[in-house]
């Protein structure tokens, strides 16, 4: 599939002496993109940004100034080797390992920059990864995901890779390699509330999903059985989905505050106009459409033969549903769960505006202080959570598909 590109590349003289040993037609399209991106980033983009304090704009520092010369040179050599391996059509597993290695090197390097750039009499100075770091990181992440995709790994292997990635990140965090970076300086200041907010973030995302499953699954089953109910329910849920999240949280406040004040026992249960309750209910409402919709679609997709066979065996309606239909529909339903979870992890961020807690607290405090580092302290864990949830549930869908 790469022959067209390599032929023209060869004609244009891409095939220099350095690649003379390689077979004709042996350039990898993605590898060329990765190499060019890396090369351009190293030459033209700053590796990190150095700022005098937390809120001023900084100046970019390229990779050769940001690191001791020997380190920078060694790093560029490693990155160049991996990029060259990516251009050549090397074995897929070599590409995967190489890309992973390059990412680890990159992560290590960026942690080396603050001690090199910040003197002892500049306690307020901040170092933040900049263009070249992100571009090269993006290029090798692309190479890595492409290679993993081509390896056609099973769900367990994908989970293992996720675990390894987390292990490496944890090692960097625990070892203190990144402690000089601006985001980690924010973490150092907010470490007491960070884990508390992390817990409420996960709790809100999972609890609203739980609620949506309790209500959405039976509703989905009922909708599938009754076309009239389906015509009534799905459009309403569709409309709910279009309400902007800030408006939704705002809408929840007044009725809940009334409910808490008038209904005995409600306030004691934790139901109130601000905080967890309105956030939970808003997220629950957003979660319903994917759960109900995918339950309906999943049940619809159960092959008619299976149902006839079940009927022929004399199974009751209930036995058919629990024993045949729901298990067969589970992968589709889980796809809905995946959508809900990833969506909710993102939406919880907004809940900080109504006192719901979560990583959004850092995002909005950061916006208020014009402190990008604090915004990132909220944004990066949110992205990591959403990404992990997606990988885990994808793997789960595959595992279940494999079994049915």
């Amino acid at each position: 599939m790469n022959s067209g590109f390599s032929a023209s590349a060869t004609r244009r003289g891409f095939r220099s002496a350095a690649f003379a040993g390689l077979k004709r037609g042996s350039f990898d399209k993605l590898g060329v993109v990765v190499a060019l991106l890396t090369f351009a980033a190293l030459l033209f983009e700053p590796f990190v940004t150095l700022r005098a304090n937390r809120i001023v704009s900084g100046k970019g520092v390229n990779v050769f100034d940001a690191l001791p010369h020997a380190t920078a040179f060694a790093a560029v050599v490693v990155i160049a080797i991996v990029a060259a391996a990516a251009i050549a059509r090397t074995a897929t597993w070599i590409r995967a390992v190489g890309a992973g290695l390059a990412l680890v090197v990159l992560a290590f390097l960026v942690g080396e920059t603050p001690p090199h750039l910040i003197g002892p009499n500049q306690p307020l100075a901040r170092v933040t990864p900049a263009g070249a770091f992100w571009l090269i990181g993006f290029a090798f992440a692309l190479l890595l995901t492409d290679a993993i995709g081509r390896l056609r790994l099973g769900p367990w292997a994908r989970l293992a890779i996720l675990a390894v990635a987390f292990g490496i990140a944890a090692a960097f965090l625990v070892s203190g390699q990144w402690d000089g970076l601006s985001v980690m300086k924010e973490y150092a200041v907010h470490s007491d509330s960070f884990w508390q907010e992390a817990a409420s973030h996960v709790e809100l995302a999972l609890a609203s999903l739980g609620g949506a499953l309790v209500v959405g699954l039976p509703l989905g089953v009922a909708c599938q059985a009754s076309p009239r109910l389906r015509e009534l329910t799905l459009p309403v849920l569709n409309i709910v989905q279009t309400i902007p999240s800030i408006a939704m949280y705002g809408l929840m406040m007044a009725p809940l505050a009334w409910f808490a004040a008038k209904v005995p026992g409600a306030a004691e249960l934790g139901i109130r106009g601000i905080g967890t309750a309105p956030a939970l209910i808003a997220l629950f409402l957003y979660s319903l459409l994917p759960v109900v919709g995918n339950t309906v679609v999943g049940l619809d997709s159960v092959p008619a033969q299976s149902l006839e066979a079940a009927q022929g065996m004399g199974m009751t309606r209930r036995q058919r549903l629990l024993g045949i239909e729901l298990p067969l529909a589970t992968p589709v339903i889980l796809t809905g769960v995946r959508i809900v979870l990833v969506q909710n992890i993102g939406l919880v961020t907004i809940a900080a505006l109504i006192g719901g807690g979560g990583f959004g607290v850092f995002v909005f405090q950061g916006i208020g202080q014009a402190a990008t580092d604090l915004v990132l302290l909220g944004a990066i864990p949110t992205i990591a959570l959403a990404f992990s949830a997606a990988v885990i549930l994808d793997a789960l869908v595959d595992i279940l598909k494999g079994k049915t």
């Binding site: 001023v56 934790g270 405090q365």
Partner: protein, 306 residues
């Protein structure tokens, strides 16, 4: 079968989560807005109350102003710092001139909120966190600019100024146009850098870095970035802007349970003048220290908390 049992487990988990958020026994719920100064003053209140032995339920950085108002009126929080000038908007009296007078504005806010919501405004801080104009320190020194009257004369006399402001600041009658009218100066479009939707963090940054020749900025009086950016705030000597004095406000019911709170907070808030708040906000915003630690070290250095 398994699916049903899983659902039951989930349902139980959900109920437990809700129950876990039920109110724990605390003497008082302290809250604040989600901005820098809210964080600082909220922590100050919480630490002062805790130092006198109250159990404090911490809801600091709860949300924006409307959220805080709803929460305190509904009794979901007991005490938080609010600005006297904001009462003008809570009670739809923004056109009244009395908000420009610190004492009258405070008295009016106190009366209106007590009559309507049984919320007590305790003693305010002698600071004014209102719209103001900040100018680069060296420009101010070179041209002897201390007040807005000086500024008006300087601009009219051909002083080279370029001011960064939000669209709201430049256009709303109560802001820049009011300054221009009272201090008899006019800024031409090429003397303005309008950042639509920009907040003071952005305008201060613009002046500090002299983006596009900017040397003056819309600021709030107690912004933490002001001194770090090398700006000085020009004195509103003819009192154009409403006074926004930070004031702890508390539900009457909570105050009755612990009436000493008023006396505990009064001397603390009395120390919060413009410069002190600028410095403390700056430690949070510019240095990146945590609001909790800044509050603790300040209270300790002043001897309010041992």
């Amino acid at each position: 079968m398994t699916i049903i049992s899983k659902l039951k487990t989930l349902g139980v988990a959900l109920a437990l989560t809700l129950a876990a958020h039920a109110v724990e026994a605390a003497d008082i719920t302290v809250s604040s807005k989600i901005d820098t100064e809210g964080n600082l003053l909220g922590n100050v209140i919480a630490q002062v109350l805790a130092s006198h032995g109250l159990t404090v339920n911490n809801r600091i950085s709860l949300g924006s102003t409307p959220i805080l108002r709803k929460a305190i009126i509904a009794g979901e929080i007991d005490i938080y710092p609010e600005y006297t000038g904001n009462a003008a908007f809570f009670f739809n009296k923004a056109d009244d001139g009395l908000w420009k007078d610190a004492a009258k504005g405070y008295a009016e806010a106190k009366k209106l909120d007590y009559d309507a919501n049984k919320i007590v405004w305790l003693d305010p801080a002698p600071a004014n966190n209102t719209w103001a104009i900040g100018i680069l320190g060296d420009v101010a020194t070179a041209n002897k600019l201390v007040t807005l009257t000086d500024f008006g004369k300087w601009v009219t006399g051909g002083g080279k100024v370029k001011l960064a402001g939000s669209a709201e600041f430049v256009n709303s009658a109560a802001a820049l146009p009011a300054f221009e009218k009272t201090y008899a100066f006019t800024l031409k479009p090429d003397q303005l850098l309008v950042l639509s939707g920009g907040d003071t963090a952005a305008t201060i940054k613009g002046a500090a870095e002299q983006t596009d020749g900017v040397n003056a900025a819309m600021v709030y009086g107690t912004d933490g970035g002001i001194s770090a950016a090398g700006l000085v705030v020009l004195d509103d000597d003819k009192g154009v802007q409403p006074v926004y004095a930070p004031t702890p406000i508390i539900r009457e019911a909570a105050l009755k349970a612990h009436p000493e709170i008023a006396a505990w907070l009064k001397p603390v808030f009395a120390t919060f003048d413009l410069k002190t708040l600028q410095t403390l906000n700056g430690r949070i915003q510019v240095n990146g220290e945590s609001a909790k630690e800044v509050a603790a070290s300040y209270l300790k250095s002043k001897g309010f908390v041992k």
